[in-house]
């Protein structure tokens, strides 16, 4: 039975489990520290991102052609950080489009994202002083079924002959349907998917692709708001930390794996064994990232009112 003092530790902190929590807190600290630095007036550098420079070019082209700009904030099941970020970028696109009286179409897969997008885009038009140009039907809910949504958006692209399309957010199998349909009518395309499996499809079919965290860097790049720029630099610090850990891990593993050992650690307990070559699971890095949890029994009183659910314990 486990001593009472160890019950306080918490399941997620057992063995080397604390390391993951510590790293997450460290990343959060980096982000918050850099937001503070940026707010304090520190000039922070962001590298050039081609896909984001193309946004103005794409809207300009749509304005010249007098055709709409189509935006899709992905297929998030609920309103999450990815959908919010996509709508934030679309707010920038809509602002430029509003200035040039260019029609827009924003197609939503999720009703929650639809309401958020509608509010945000309406605010953009109001803040530009052109509230009369805002068409409430320009932000629309299409369907919350993947391929019904794909068919609906593809139909819109073909019927409206959009000049520029922006596919930013969570995309799955339908990504290529969108990209190829827009390509078939010659629309300029800027795309990004947080799903790594879909990024190659966008790279193959679209003009500009934001890869990985460039998607999250977009707001900072476009607006240079201190909070966003600071957050981006915090992410860069975190990436440097990860790179450092990869290098150290490679070195540690390379050195350790050459040697012999007479100790083995199983389920968090060290025991002496006959000499053998070091295995991958014996290395320091492996043990740091893979907590070995021994099975423990904690005896607790049973609730007198507890009624086991039917089938429980079978």
């Amino acid at each position: 039975m486990m001593p009472l003092s160890q019950v306080y530790i918490g399941d997620q902190y057992r063995d080397t489990g604390w390391f993951g929590v510590f790293m997450t807190l460290l990343v959060a600290a980096f982000v918050l520290l850099n937001i503070r630095r940026a707010r304090g007036g520190k000039d922070l550098y962001i590298r050039r991102i081609a896909g984001l420079n193309a946004i103005d070019e794409a809207i300009g082209r749509a304005t010249e052609m007098g055709k709409p700009v189509l935006m899709v904030p992905g297929l998030s099941d609920t309103i999450n950080a990815i959908a919010v970020q996509a709508v934030n970028i679309f707010a920038y696109v809509s602002r430029i489009a509003a200035r040039f009286a260019n029609p827009i179409l924003l197609c939503c897969y999720n009703a929650a994202v639809y309401t958020y997008a509608q509010e945000t885009i309406r605010d953009v038009y109001q803040s530009e002083g052109v509230a009369d140009r805002y068409d409430p039907d320009s932000v629309r809910f299409v369907s919350d079924r993947q391929f019904a949504f794909a068919a609906g958006v593809s139909g819109l692209i073909l019927r409206e002959q959009t000049a520029a399309t922006f596919f930013l957010g969570e995309f799955y199998a339908e990504s290529l349907i969108f990209a190829e349909t827009a390509n078939s009518i010659g629309a300029i395309q800027v795309a990004s998917s947080t799903e790594t499996t879909q990024t190659p499809f966008f790279i193959a079919a679209c003009d500009y692709v934001l890869i990985g965290d460039e998607f999250y860097a977009a707001s900072a790049y476009l607006t240079r708001q201190p909070v966003l720029v600071g957050s981006l630099v915090g992410q860069d610090w975190s990436k440097l930390m990860i790179i450092l850990m990869i290098i150290l891990g490679t070195l540690f593993n390379t050195v350790q794996i050459q040697g012999k050992t007479t100790w083995e650690r199983t389920k968090g307990v060290w025991s002496q064994i006959p000499e053998r070559s070091v295995k991958q699971s014996d290395t320091f890095m492996s043990q740091l990232f893979k907590p070995q949890l021994e099975k423990v029994k904690v005896e607790r009183p049973i609730d007198p009112n507890y009624v086991p659910e039917k089938g429980a314990g079978e």
């Binding site: 609920t78 929650a112 193959a204 079919a205 998607f215 708001q225």
Partner: protein, 304 residues
């Protein structure tokens, strides 16, 4: 598996009351009243006060998840067990609340789906009444939506009733069940499958464009793709590998040039590491974004 994941909320926890009990009804009424008060309060709140109210609720909601992540989780918790101390009392309470808090999102989504349907109706009814050139498609959409809702609900009600268990057998089906089956399995699922299969042709056209030799990068991409494609063709990889083996004559270095080895090397060395690199970036971005949203540092539409 971690025992916590298997744990069931005990029947007497704060988050679950017995069906139709007075405690359940009291909690439902209190929740409804609080919800309505918050909603009315937000509607009538001065515009300047809305931001701090939203920031407060966002912080409280986010704090729950942060607490759930950081607070020591109970070790070896079994159903029906009582906490040993204050730390465990909080962790039990947090773990039991998880399902309830998650269902808040579903309730909100349910309300918001109504707004989505309103948007669809508004756009397509306007098209129909104004005699838009694509009004026919709008009629098809609205009729399909109406039929699917009617047959879906009618079938659901039938299955809730006394005949529910009998409806698992197709012989007992009536008009409603055949209607739902035709619309859902016969039409919708088939059309979904048709849309999905279109992707195969799009892959071909996209790959053709992407793999044309236009630049050094495109050539490298083409070569790598060709090698991986060929390695998946059994006959080609067999002939290639056998030839390499005969030339190598046991030389381990030359054996590396077997097609399957080269393809595996491309996957393991380039593909996997690139994907992991991208995933690190995406994960960090999501964490930073979540942090900004939680602390209300991110303004709505801050991309503009």
């Amino acid at each position: 598996m971690i025992p916590l994941l298997q744990a069931q909320a005990p029947a007497t926890s704060f988050w679950s009351e017995a069906f139709n009990s007075s405690e359940l009804w009291t909690k439902l009424i209190i929740t409804l009243v609080v919800g309505l008060v918050v909603m009315v309060g937000l509607l009538y709140a001065p515009i300047r006060a809305r931001k701090p109210i939203i920031a407060f609720f966002t912080f409280i909601s986010g704090a729950y998840w942060v607490l759930l992540y950081l607070w020591p989780k109970p070790i070896d918790r079994q159903p029906g067990e009582m906490p040993l101390n204050t730390v465990e009392t909080v962790s039990f309470w947090l773990a039991d609340s998880n399902n309830v808090v998650v269902s808040f999102t579903q309730i909100l989504t349910g309300f918001l789906l109504g707004l989505g349907i309103f948007s669809l109706l508004k756009i397509h009814l306007t098209k129909i009444t104004k005699g838009h050139k694509d009004a026919f498609f709008s009629i098809v959409l609205l009729v399909s939506m109406g039929l699917m809702i009617w047959f879906g609900y009618a079938d659901w009600f039938d299955r809730l009733g006394e005949r529910g268990a009998m409806l698992d057998n197709r012989d007992n089906w009536g008009f409603t069940q055949y209607g739902r089956d035709f619309l859902f399995e016969g039409l919708l699922q088939q059309m979904d499958a048709a849309m999905f299969s279109v992707i195969a042709f799009y892959i071909l056209s996209a790959a053709y464009r992407a793999f044309r030799v236009r630049s050094v990068e495109a050539t490298i991409l083409l070569s790598a793709a060709l090698l991986v494609l060929l390695s998946l063709m059994g006959a080609v990889s067999f002939v290639w590998d056998e030839n390499v083996k005969s030339i190598a004559n046991g030389n381990p270095f030359i054996l590396n040039f077997q097609l399957t080895e080269v393809a595996q090397w491309i996957r393991n060395t380039f593909q996997t590491s690139s994907i992991r690199g991208i995933q690190f970036g995406v994960g960090l971005g999501a964490l930073a974004m979540g942090l900004r949203l939680w602390l209300s540092l991110e303004k709505p539409g801050s991309g503009s």
